[in-house]
Symmetry: C2
Subunit: 429 residues, 2 copies
């Protein structure tokens, strides 16, 4: 864990190093991924079956091997403990409500020149959602990706997921039932992304692909960007907690560890104006690490990437937060509004002492798929907009064309595009 104070003589340089540190894997899998994509494009299902055998030790032979039925999802849902089923339903309902409120409005107006202009938002026809196999298969992630697509109005929502040694995750299947997923295919890796983008005999292509995955999956999405729409490149999770000294150190320590336990490359940073409180949090982190079932991951993350920064006043925190542009920012202070106004770059902000970040992971409503790795400078969390597109429209009549047409003619001639000019001139006569 790195400990800095803005009063340190070398603070600027050490903070720069913290901001610039790359925690993302640089493993270059682009060549291998390109070969897999080309192979699936050429050979379709036969290639999928081979990769499934090789990478997931799972045989795709009979028709029934290929997908997970709606009945299986329903059965997984019915078999859940009531508490867990209610929790998933509550989460789904709250996510649905928040994203419904996010639906964009169409526009249609006629301006003073008589030119009618507008835009129509429509869902894509089909969306694909990658769900990792094994430990990182989270039902909450399925809800956070699938529900915005369904709220957007996507008619065909397709999940692809590897099932190593044939193992499926009942919580994920139950979440798919709740979210209304239309198809689940038992394929994973770059090959699954290729199948979604190009289509195969069994799997019809989709228009947009979202969802987390390993380096192969991420690179496959990047290479297919443009063939389909994709969500933002995702990196390791991050939390920045800005806290004054009036907080409980154990609460703040737990908040820091809630990101640290995701992955050794996750990053948890505390900024506080109280050096004594910083000490207490550091002690609490160690104490909680000792008891945590995820201690191995969380310890590695906190040791390698954790940081505590002591500032003179919390007003200093906002510019530091803007440099870090963190995925999650907690404002554990009595009056968070002024700080919220000063933080320009953050994926999501958690206001006040009673809003731990984990609430946003599950049940608050806003999406938990958020920009990482300083991408909050330019990127937003997942939303219904990722599953929609906008068609603009224009309508003129003789009068309005008479008003604005001559300017178009002048510009077309100036740009050396005479047919552009002619298409307007003919109608002006």
């Amino acid at each position: 864990m790195l400990r800095l104070a803005t009063s340190d003589a070398d603070f600027a340089a050490r903070f720069d190093a913290l901001v610039d540190a790359r925690r993302e894997s640089d493993s270059d899998v682009s060549g291998q991924v390109a070969a897999i994509l080309a192979d699936v494009k050429a050979r379709g299902d036969a290639a999928l079956a081979e990769y499934s055998q090789r990478f997931d030790s799972y045989t795709l032979a009979e028709e029934a091997d290929w997908n997970i039925s709606a009945e299986a999802c329903r059965a997984a849902y019915d078999a859940l403990d009531t508490d867990l089923r209610d929790a998933l339903e509550l989460a789904a309902e709250r996510i649905r409500a928040y994203h419904r409120d996010q639906l964009p409005a169409n526009r249609d107006f006629t301006d003073a020149a008589g030119v009618r202009q507008g835009a129509i938002w429509r869902p894509v026809d089909a969306a694909g959602l990658y769900v990792p196999g094994g430990r990182a298969a989270y039902p909450s992630s399925l809800l956070m990706n699938a529900i915005p697509a369904k709220v957007a109005g996507v008619e065909r929502l397709v999940v692809v997921t590897p099932t190593p040694h044939g193992k499926t995750n009942p919580l994920v299947l139950a979440a798919a039932h709740i979210a209304g997923v239309d198809e689940i295919w038992r394929v994973g890796g770059a090959q699954a992304i290729a199948a979604l983008a190009y289509g195969t005999d069994r799997i019809r292509p989709v228009d947009v692909i979202t969802g987390p995955g390993n380096a192969w999956v991420a690179e496959a999405k990047r290479q297919l960007y443009g063939v389909v729409g994709i969500d933002m490149v995702a990196g390791p999770s991050e939390i920045l907690v800005i806290a004054d000294g009036d907080n409980r150190a154990d609460w703040i320590a737990a908040d820091l560890l809630s990101q640290a336990e995701h992955d050794p490359t996750s990053q948890s940073i505390l900024i506080t104006d109280d050096s004594g409180f910083a000490d207490k949090v550091a002690v609490q982190v160690e104490a909680q690490l000792a008891e945590l079932a995820t201690t191995e991951t969380a310890t590695a993350s906190w040791q390698d990437n954790g940081a505590i920064i002591v500032v003179e006043t919390l007003a200093e925190a906002a510019p530091l937060a803007n440099r870090l542009a963190a995925e999650h920012v907690e404002l554990a202070v009595a009056e968070p509004e002024p700080l919220l106004g000063a933080i320009r770059h953050a994926g999501s902000v958690f206001l006040g002492r009673m809003t731990p970040e984990a609430i946003g992971d599950y049940v608050a409503g806003p999406n938990h798929v958020l920009p990482t790795g300083r991408r909050a400078r330019f990127a937003s969390g997942l939303s219904v907009l990722d599953f929609m597109k906008r068609t603009s429209f224009i309508a003129l009549d003789e009068a309005s064309l008479g008003r604005v047409g001559p300017a178009a003619v002048a510009l077309a001639h100036a740009e050396g595009l005479p047919a552009h000019a002619k298409s307007v001139e003919l109608r002006l006569k």
Copy 2:
């Protein structure tokens, strides 16, 4: 030019071939681009100067060689013919008005459980805009990219543009003056994109890069996606005109040629329910090609990529249009509304007989940067949203945490994330 009729026995297969035809260059410049990006990242301005000499025959030696001043842009503006200046000003004003109306609203609400949720839209700090050198340097493109950025509230808008042999384009400089561009750097190609993404001693980095360019520029943007935000991959321009027999053949011919004259890879398609009208348009296209200053390009485009499709009724046109998902769709019919409702996939739609597509290129108001190559299935035209990002926020108090917290605890435990659960449990006690 391809001529099809839905009544042809082999129509389905031939239409499929038309939809699947790739008009984009497959030249693989990824290795060369990767090398240029790494070089600019490592050596900065020195690398830029070398590439400028090599690719643009332009020497970057003195400080004054590097950029084009605000004064030079102002002078180019002042030197314009009044007609052209007025036309650019009218275009800018109309584009500004349309995009202002596009600004998204923030959200802030508290639901029945007492959970406050919302989202704040903010502009990125800095945006970069690529402007090609030579023939494809269009002042209208500068306005269409720069004005949405400025309307979004971007404080620093940076243009990069190659100036081969030192030549600048006065119309582009005048447009930069009108749009309020903050910096113009005389660098182009993949190296300019690298400079914008990584920054150099002279050029500070930006957060989002938009604007058209050649294969090197497009590949550089693709490789840097994630380091910065980028706009959609752009391919050759397209128009689909859906027209009944009550149109003037010369008007429709000019509309088809207004896309054909952009590039030999551009595509113009007419769908009509009147075979005789189709014949008349084909004749008019040939007649106009004979007189067009851009005849070489337009002839190549029309011969290689043009198509006329005769349908039984115009109701057949919508599903064909949805397969083509064209950048521009004209509905040259008396009552375009029903067709507009049936067309799900299009970049922009032009309604009625008096709305030639060229009006949208210059003065209508909506953006002319639109998805090509069937990408209207999932992508939208450029908008203020491309220069903004959304930060969500959540605020709970003891009462609301008591209502939704236990579900978060249950889900965190089920996902094997005990620190997530603990951060909530501690506050529930």
